[in-house]
Symmetry: C3
Subunit: 205 residues, 3 copies
Amino acid sequence: MTALAFLDYASVFIFALTGAFAASRAQLDIVGFVFLASLVGMGGGTIRDLLLDRPPLWITDPTYLGVAAVAAVLVFFLAHLVGSRLRWLVWLDACALSVAVPAGFAVALATGQPWPIVLLMGVVTGTFGGLMRDVVVNDVPVVLVQGELYVTAAAAGGIAGLAALSIGDASFALLICALTTLILRAGSLRFGWCLPTYKSRAPRR
Amino acid sequence: MTALAFLDYASVFIFALTGAFAASRAQLDIVGFVFLASLVGMGGGTIRDLLLDRPPLWITDPTYLGVAAVAAVLVFFLAHLVGSRLRWLVWLDACALSVAVPAGFAVALATGQPWPIVLLMGVVTGTFGGLMRDVVVNDVPVVLVQGELYVTAAAAGGIAGLAALSIGDASFALLICALTTLILRAGSLRFGWCLPTYKSRAPRR
Amino acid sequence: MTALAFLDYASVFIFALTGAFAASRAQLDIVGFVFLASLVGMGGGTIRDLLLDRPPLWITDPTYLGVAAVAAVLVFFLAHLVGSRLRWLVWLDACALSVAVPAGFAVALATGQPWPIVLLMGVVTGTFGGLMRDVVVNDVPVVLVQGELYVTAAAAGGIAGLAALSIGDASFALLICALTTLILRAGSLRFGWCLPTYKSRAPRR
């Protein structure tokens, strides 16, 4: 299995877990779990593939559908064993983000896109699955939560990956991209790292 | 007209009616009715066609736009004659689901997709129009309503259709697919049929 | 720069400004501003391009990403100088609509689509960026605001453009399209112009 295929499988599986946790919070039945897990797990990658005019990952390889379904079934039967499901959702989402950003990055790189597109595809693949999850279940989209690094972590991961490309090969860049995203997102969740947010101010002078 | 074209027209028309009923609940003007009817009527089929890399149905054949517009105008002028508009919306949506699932199923079959994709295309075509309607008007998406068969009815219809393929031809499979979806969805609405939903439980032992 | 490229740049820039104003109301950080500005600025055009099976505008020409980012940065640092940010958002959105409708119209015309598709692409390009903005930040979508001309202004602009095509060239049609959309939308905001909306009535007789 190539690094790219591994990243895609891992990102589908982990995002599918977050979709299934969201389904558990909405108390759906098993098919609802599979539906939401599939939407979240494959949403970001599907949009990436549509934008790059490639066939969606799960049409090329229907195994992805099975991966998402397994994640849904696991959560349906085992979620009561874990503590706070919201906490699991948030931390799994952080892991999913950290593998999906390099997954998008890698595909755009492999298809020879210029660097702004490589960066953007990392961000889109990382964030759109979660965005669709939150819009569908009508939560505040995690990309909009105030005072947290989310899109910022994804973008920083992409930028770090681009920088790493100039001193190493693609695998090294993907590793740096994943680590940067994970560290920033985890640091934001654990220690409250954030960028200054917009505040309406009185005009100076 | 082929069975496929008939299914597509019927599904656009009936989903467009549900979009127009949603527009009537939001008290839009006639152009808003046409907009929402078109979005809901053609949304699921359009996403199916984008995923399968076909031109969207209404670009190949703009008649679909006229079909959606007629549905919108009908509801705008006649909706005050019916009783509960919410009830009509729900039951029309059940009918639309039951023709849209085989419509998606048929297209994926005709383009030679493997069976998991055929199943998924049935579910996507059936559910995404209604999902977009509910997200845009900010209702709880019908796919997420607790204790009802909706995605489950669509998936069961697809599975029944796949099973029917092994003993009959495609038209027979489409009929079985439509009937299974309709019976399960109608039974859920009328008699409360449902699958067990996720409940958080204390860990056993 | 062709008229088409100018319309696309202008529509991306102005819609990106509205996305950034929405980000300021949600008090995001600078990367959140860029994300939302990009989504809103390029959303409508991207959907248009996917539907017409063209590569998305910003993949062909990544300059668009820079245009959206500049709009985001401008609003992040200067929005406190303006009065009501909601008012600015609404009026900028009216301007963006009036350039995005002819931008969609022009692309469909240039690719030789029949007139219903030309009209629809104008409406889709004009409205879907704002629709995505409002769904993501969970506002009432501006396309659904009761008693205002929005989709109606876009559709009327498209129809006026089609009519103008029969007496003039494409540039003239784009101008008429933009002016009609702007006048109707501005008149609706300033003077309350609207079409009769659906009201549930007792059956006559």
